[in-house]
Symmetry: C2
Subunit: 100 residues, 2 copies
């Protein structure tokens, strides 16, 4: 099952707005049927650095996520808040052993 | 609440043994009272690269984790399997909003 760590660097004057927009995206994303994790964290040493931890049942669920209104709303809202292009790193989720 | 991403590079001939040792550590760690997440993933492009995603209620729980038999057993078992020193990056867990 695909697990993606998405690394995002945010402009310093946009941090609060980025968290607000990302909270809304989190709350809707966890309701998607194929979603297993959609956690969101902020670097302790540098609060402008964020990570999304996203676990989906399969790639079709990731494709579906990117077609949702809440994803598109988030992406449009935060696009200009990012200090650089965001970077996603794909993994295989090993444990916990999620049921498909 | 502290969330740590631990990045581990494993020698290529130790990958299977590393997964076996880490599964045991995962299974015991999620039973710790202060643990909220102890997920384990493998890089899709380079299977020698792993990440632990560890969420605890507070720093005392992390200290307690490192004193458990299962952590010490894991650390001793995998020490020589690592290609380089492992690296932990601390975050503040924002969402989901965990209850303390």
């Amino acid at each position: 099952m695909p697990v993606t760590l998405v690394y995002i660097s945010v402009k310093r004057d946009c941090i609060d707005d980025f968290i607000t927009a990302s909270k809304a995206n989190h709350e809707s994303s966890i309701e998607e049927p194929g979603n297993l994790r959609f956690d969101f964290m902020q670097n302790e040493d540098d609060p402008s650095q964020f990570v999304f931890y996203e676990w989906y049942q399969n790639d079709d669920d990731i494709t579906a996520h990117k077609q949702t209104t809440h994803y598109k709303t988030w992406a449009a809202a935060v696009n200009d808040m990012m200090a650089e292009r965001r970077r996603g790193v794909r993994h295989k989720g090993l444990f916990p052993e999620m049921k498909s």
